[in-house]
């Protein structure tokens, strides 16, 4: 077993654990956007398609590179756009009035500093 394979395996296993850790904290409300965001992220395989196009010199290589590039970039762009579209619909209040006039200026400053402070 080569060192490179061992390194790759280590990275793979640790990333799996990081993934389990991070994703288990995503609320069920967001599971559909999570899946489409995952679609966008696995579009990273576009890098592989680009490297094929860069190294090949046979027609079959070009065909494979082309199809893979189409597939992967559909993932990257489509996943990102549709995730954004969905997340935009998640509102705390429908068409809420913009200013709710907090009591003191200090409170306003704190709220401005942590935009998600309200979600606590």
């Amino acid at each position: 077993m080569s060192t490179a394979l061992l390194t790759d395996l280590t990275i793979f296993v640790l990333s799996l654990w990081v993934g389990f850790e991070v994703i288990s904290k995503v609320p069920a409300t967001l599971h559909t956007p999570l899946m489409s965001a995952a679609n966008s992220i696995h579009g990273i395989v576009l890098v592989g398609a680009m490297l094929i196009a860069a190294t090949t010199n046979s027609w079959i290589g070009y065909v494979i590179a082309f199809v893979a590039a189409v597939f992967a970039s559909a993932n990257v762009v489509g996943g990102y756009v549709v995730t954004g579209r969905m997340l935009k619909m998640f509102r705390r209040r429908p068409a809420a009035p913009a200013v709710t006039a907090p009591a003191a200026p200090a409170a306003t400053a704190t709220a401005a500093l942590s935009r998600d402070g309200q979600s606590a």
Partner: protein, 470 residues
Amino acid sequence: MSGFSFATQLIYVLAASCFVLGLHLMNTPATARRGNQFSTAGMVIAIATTLALVAHAGVISSTGWIVMLVGALIGGGIGLYSARTVQMTAMPQLVSMFNAVGGGAAALVAIHDYIRVAGAVHGVAESTTVTTLLDVIIGSVTFSGSIIAAGKLQGVITSAPVTFPGSRVVNLLLGAIGLGAAGYVIATPGLPALWIVIVAALAFGVTMVMPIGGADMPVVISLLNAFTGTAVAMAGFVIGNWALIIAGALVGASGGILTKLMADAMNRSIGNIIVGGFGTGDTAVAALPGAGAGVTAIAADDAAIQLAYAQKVIIVPGYGLAAAQAQHEVAELADLLESRGVDVTYAIHPVAGRMPGHMNVLLAEANVPYPQLKEMDEINPDFARTDVALVIGANDVTNPAARRPGTAISGMPILDVDQAKSIIVVKRSMGHGYAGIDNELYTNPKTSMYFADAKTALADLTSAVKTLVG
């Protein structure tokens, strides 16, 4: 390792960190949009780095550039168009198609790598072959399986389980052929055996998903999502790129978690769903409205008065609401009740809808604010303090029989709807749900059945509230 390739690897790790951070920010709806932007920033960094790498290496032909750029433009255009135009009810199909192309692209990367190495004079290192084969197999199964899943969700292919005598034998046979050919590729590297592996894996994807019923789709999509991630990670092994390995592992973990959650919520094991091949399609078994003993029927006016004079109402939307596309009607009714001072929340079971979290997206689209959307564990204690629970198109997930041993749904996590002071169930008929058993909730003395299509029923309820108590 030259300074340049060292730098590019470091930048790939930076891009992968953006993915982790982006997924982390999805832990609340308030920060999720920033999370999506972080992930995409990571993607832009990774692609820009690869462009720099390709240009720096200088071996790419002009044909290579054209293939790369035109392919990316076409794919990006298709992705953009489908993402902009897709209906929220069709999200499961879109995610499934995205899984398909992701798996397909990952398989192609491994296939090309193998062709290139096989074309060279020297042999293939064994470890490369194993990851290459895993990539080819998982990627191909995902590709064909996801297309079938999308077809079933879209209704192009029947959502009922498709089985034929000996279908399980065919599955086993395909598995054996695929693995046998894969073993042969490892023993004696060569292209023909690889083609057999690909064809067997593609066929296996089809025969794996065809027997799975529409109701099990949330599990299947999640599982195929996990497959896609794993295939992409394997592609990372094949081309030696950490960004692919990390991103693929993250997606694999995400799909894995969702698969487990969905299977648990349906009280089925993953293996049982894959080899089972039972489960129903979209349509419930028809039965006469009002059939069955001890069932109280209710008309729109009475239901409207109950709702309008309640203090606390919990709406329980299910698959039937999504199928009837009645999310806007339900939101309108909820708004009306809220304007009368009724406290309205939604109880969302994990498998309400056609994919993980689907019901939340449908309701968010109908302008329901997300703090009103409650997960099962969060809302269950509230039912006892609730005046009216309005169940729309949900069946098995409300059946108290799940609390007793010895029924088809024993042990399945349910919404404690029967604890509410009174219950109104909107349903087309007394037909059975997916589990095929009677719902004891319907014969509960506190329950009134409102037999109608979800969309019509909700519109009638809204106008009844307006006219009666305006």
